[in-house]
Symmetry: none
Subunit: 88 residues, 5 copies
């Protein structure tokens, strides 16, 4: 196994495992927030607009963590700063 | 084992494990939200339309995290940026 | 062990493990939602139609994540993009 | 160990482990739903028909995920797309 | 170790482990449902016939997932599609 093979194999595996594990808790947190938002809209329908707006803005904040993992995964795949060291 | 074999084997395994693990928490979060949506519709049937609409829009937000994993898995399978380094 | 053997072995194992793990949380989420739907129909039988309709539409949303895993498993088995590299 | 031996061994092991793991959560979800259905029928016997019908239709939805695993296991055993590459 | 030995060993191990793991959650789900059925019959003895009938029909649904594992285990033992490749 030469160096380039090891780097490429590790890059592919890491890209996949990064978004898989990095997306677990953001999606769970969003699911819990959505659960409570649905419950709250049902109980205080006169607050529905405010609750929905808060859910979306809050979900964007939580989602940002998942997007960090996505960005790192995409960088590892498409802008890997180490791969050029092994491809002359 | 030559380089191309290692890269292909790692790619196949990573693609599968990425969507398998990456889909766990989104589907669980959606399941919890659906559970609460059903409960809420049963208790406040007059809010049903608003609850169902919020569930679908919110589920789309949670689903987006699962789609990140799917996109990375499909990139690894069909647009793998490393495979061309080994197939001359 | 030649290259084709490794790729085929990894493909078979990954296809199985992908749908096995990828189907766990969707089926659990659907089971929880079904549990709540049964409870809700028993308590508010006059809402039964709406509850059942929401359960089916919501279960389709949750099922979509399981179908992502199924699609990746079937791609790995029948449309494997790497297998042609090793079968000349 | 020749190639065909490895492929056959991996296929047999994967088929078994796929349905074993893939069937865990569907059966658990159905068990929970059945538990609630029994409780609901005992409390609201006048809703029994509707509850039982919902349980069966919902269990079919949950069962579908277990059937995905069964289908992949049977494909690996009887319609393995890789086995013909090794049996000339 | 010749090929036939490996295939036979893997088949035997997989058959056992498949039904062992595949039977875990169905039996747990049925146990929970039975627990609730017993409780419900004790509280509403006038509903006993309906509860018992629902338990048996529902347990058959849960059992079906365990039977999938049993079928795969029996196929691996008695209708193994790979064994004839090694016994000429």
């Amino acid at each position: 196994m030469d160096s380039l093979t090891i780097i490429a194999a590790v890059s592919i595996f890491t890209a996949g495992i990064t978004i898989a594990i990095g997306g677990m808790m953001p999606s769970r947190g969003e699911g819990e927030a959505l659960t409570k938002a649905i419950e709250s809209v049902a109980r205080q329908p006169e607050q529905a607009n405010q609750i929905i707006r808060l859910f979306f803005i809050g979900a964007a904040v939580v989602e940002s963590v998942a997007i960090y993992s996505l960005v790192i995964a995409l960088i590892i795949l498409f802008a890997n700063p180490f791969i050029h060291l092994f491809t002359k």
